[in-house]
Subunit: 535 residues, 2 copies
């Protein structure tokens, strides 16, 4: 047994048994060790941003971290944007970054760079291993740290959807010479620190607000957006009239028929102002206070309206969000059942050219039970997807919590590996898809049931809207050229075919419906390029 | 005029007139300003790693920095790997990274991250602008800093090939509120610090060594690898018998008919040991001491053989490499002309299935005069490309100095924009191509004369070799799966077509020759997928 095997076996002892890898020379011992431990599933990704996004998707669906295997500083750098997203999604994740042998560091060889500095921008926990004896404890600590920010116990099988990820990113830097040296015994499972209960005085104050005379609302995130959490919120609303909101694109949200509805805050500040108008008290339950994604001249960055007081019942990490929400429901709605809304199933729209206003209705009308919906539809879906799918069969939605584009296809990869019995539907904006397009190849290699719908409006539509908001008058040709994805048009069916994913193109709602139904009915990955009327 | 326009006009005043952009909301003012200043060419890249690699390629061919326009920390992160390569290539480059407005920073909105930490891993100079009055001076300082590491004066037109880049990376962080505020006048051109001359005592010592009785060799990099530098090295060799070497994959190297030959050091330690065997003194001229790319158990990382003493005539930055090499030639070879080798032009190989041993001969036989050859052929070219092209018409070769794969297609983009009258040939390994494949779309949009040859051996061939070097016995299925790029095979002709680049596939030397000649004869970008016998 060498050091790489000590590392691999310690990860297995700590229930990490998937590794999304884009290895290099300094990770070859770990790669070789995979042949001696088939219980660790190695998944090749052709770009590190695919590996980190896939690990994010995997943990959002299982509550357990996957490992990534990354090559030195540049390999980590390529994975940073999706690690940023994972950090914002509070996903537990363990990066294993191979580094040069200790004796080699001082030579400043070509790939040498400051790994710690890069890792620190996304990780809650970073450790460079210094000796073989550190490998086992270091790897066990890395997993425990990833899980010690308030993740519910994943062994609690009473509610499978309870495993909404709430963790952090650990990065373990492994010098090559430790990997090839004789190993020490692997470390056993280290129990992560369990989440705390909400503070009793915060709870009393929340009860007082919700039962008091002034209008209040809840803003819920994390495990509060599981089916159990949403039932608790619905009971609270029935008993006290308190509405609940969630972030625009939460890391994971339960939605659909039989699931109590929750209203996502709008992406635009104007929308949030309208939604929170008249709310006197906003109680945060595992959520952060809503802020604008970007500043604009003369507009406030904090979205809570003037006159609304913000109260934190549960911080966004370290506290069991679901337990707190349930306790709150018991306190203000004892014996009150959650309402069971019976709503009409969505119907497909009339056949017409695809545009922003109708594509999501097709998805909503055909979405299968227990789908995992990866939502990076951005402009095309920000106002349309939630209403169109609210009464579709119950499903989970994984959103772009960190706003760094290019997460959709990789997150779908990880979610599909985590849930082999559930269909994965990836709703993917065109511009964003190109950041990590090679994820399609991994969809094909792993033969996963992922149906990707590319929402092709041939522009960075959100930036066109932003440019218009600068108020600089008509957009000229030079600026247009930087926001327009035409000239040449990108043929996503050719890109998919080149990566081994069968693909079709839809221009009308009927074509999209037929192709979407066919893709769902046929095992393996598929891609549908939905050509939308330009925004 | 707003702050964004102050920035743009200051860059123009400092001869930065190309901007490779993947903008976001915080850069919209800069994008809008482009319409008022068509003398700044904005080039849209669909991924930040394309933008940074293109800026690298542009500066390698012009000696002048291009700007990148990147969106916040995640946008910079996506560009880091190719910035790492640019740093190792000593390329002058100016990153403009938009950030949140100052008032917005404290809100920790979704895209907030530590930009300085990420920028510091690749930049010699990082500055966050704090006030509108800082914009002009800050931008001028950024350009000067990028050029103050010993770049020859780009206005010296006496030898166009003299502008071998030798610079550094500057990163300017621009809060959005400064961009939208009323601007101050742009700053004028700031002259970069000129490079120093070599130290007189170092020069005297080098003269003594080269004319002394013990075997010596030169290791040359930077502007020493221009045609002028290679002539000086050839004169030195003729007068003193001192051979010259260069790094395996230098940032830029002049090669071909009429150009004195220089021997690249091999990629493998064994090859270098053989090349330097018997050399008593190794004199560094703008080069760093050769070290192995990676450490291996029980092998030295420094490649200079035991018994060889290393002397630094010219450090790798800050000193005029070409002037020093010329001075050395004048001292040891006064009046000695460079030999003018007359060698036979390369002939194409017999028609046969393509493999490692013959593809480069096809390229060598058909390479046009003054081609710019971007070499990311890695395993397929490391032993074959230099000999196959040594007697092709004179050309420049841009190599993977930083070893972070995924630079080839972006560097070709930048080089083609820099040299619109020269054909660009991009020799691109298959696995590496996928890191930044969307560069092909920019090749098409800008309608550039780039012929890309994908060397498709359907594996991470270099890693298979590395895994074999771990000496762990036969490679098992799990490890094989992480190094093999088949299952499914990737169809690069489909990927190219999807991005708007016409593509063909070659399986034999005759097919490659016919397709390569046709691509060179037809304006605009082309891609040839050369399917090679697996390594």
């Amino acid at each position: 047994m060498n050091g790489a095997e000590t590392l691999l076996r310690t990860l297995l002892n700590n229930d990490v048994n998937v590794c999304f890898a884009n290895p290099g020379t300094s990770e070859m011992q770990f790669v070789a060790a995979l042949d001696r431990h088939p219980e660790m599933r190695g998944v090749l990704c052709l770009f590190e941003g695919v590996a980190t996004g896939a690990a994010d998707g995997y943990a959002r669906m299982t509550g357990r971290p996957a490992a990534t295997l990354l090559h030195l500083g540049p390999g980590l750098a390529n994975g940073l944007a999706n690690l940023h997203n994972a950090r914002r999604a509070r996903t537990p994740l363990v990066n294993v970054v191979g580094d040069h042998a200790l004796s080699h560091k001082a030579l400043d060889s070509p790939l040498e760079s400051d790994i710690e500095a890069a890792a620190g921008t996304v990780s809650s926990w970073v450790r460079r291993l210094g000796a073989v004896a550190d490998i086992g404890p270091g790897a066990a600590d890395a997993v425990a740290a990833a899980l010690s920010a308030g993740v519910p116990d994943p062994t609690d099988a009473s509610d499978p959807s309870r495993t909404g990820a709430s963790g952090a990113i650990s990065t373990l830097i492994v010098p090559a010479d430790l990997s090839w040296s004789p190993g020490t015994p692997p470390a056993p499972r280290r129990a992560p620190r369990p989440p705390r209960a909400a503070d009793a005085s915060d709870m009393a104050r929340a009860v007082e607000l919700l039962t008091g005379p002034e209008p209040a609302a809840l803003l819920i995130d994390g495990a509060g957006l599981t089916e159990s959490g949403l039932h608790a919120a619905a009971r609270i609303q029935k008993a006290t009239g308190t509405p609940s909101f969630c972030p625009t694109w939460p890391a994971r949200l339960r939605r659909g028929a039989g699931v109590p509805h929750i209203q996502p805050l709008g992406y635009r500040a104007e929308a949030v102002a309208s939604q929170l108008s008249g709310v006197r008290h906003l109680v945060l339950v595992g959520a952060r206070e809503p802020v604008a994604s970007f500043a604009y001249p003369g507009r406030p960055g904090v979205l809570t309206p003037r006159g609304t007081t913000v109260h934190r019942l549960v911080p966004d990490t370290g506290v069991d969000v679901l337990a707190a929400l349930t306790e709150l429901a018991e306190a203000v709605a004892p014996g009150v059942p959650a309402p069971a809304p019976v709503r009409a199933a969505p119907v497909p729209p009339a056949d017409e050219e695809l545009h922003t206003g109708n594509w999501a209705q097709v998805i909503g009308a055909l979405l299968p039970q227990e789908a995992v919906v990866v939502d990076e539809s951005i402009t095309e879906g920000m106002d349309t997807l939630a209403p169109a799918t609210a009464d579709a069969p119950a499903h989970d939605v994984l959103g772009l919590a960190g706003l760094a584009i290019g997460q959709g296809l990789p997150v779908a990869l990880g979610a599909a590996l985590a849930c082999p019995d559930r269909p994965v539907v990836c709703l993917q904006a065109d511009g964003s898809a190109l950041y990590t397009i090679s994820a399609l190849w991994s969809h094909a290699r792993e033969n996963l049931d992922i149906t990707t719908v590319i929402l092709n409006n041939r522009s960075y539509a959100i930036l066109r809207a932003e440019l218009e908001r600068t108020g600089k008058g008509p957009i000229g040709p030079a600026a247009t050229a930087l926001l327009d994805l035409g000239r040449p048009d990108i043929d996503f069916t050719a890109l998919a075919a080149g990566m081994g994913v069968p693909a079709t193109r839809a221009r009308t709602t009927a074509e999209l419906a037929a192709q979407f139904a066919a893709a769902l009915a046929t095992p393996g990955p598929h891609l549908i390029e939905a050509v939308l009327r330009p925004v």
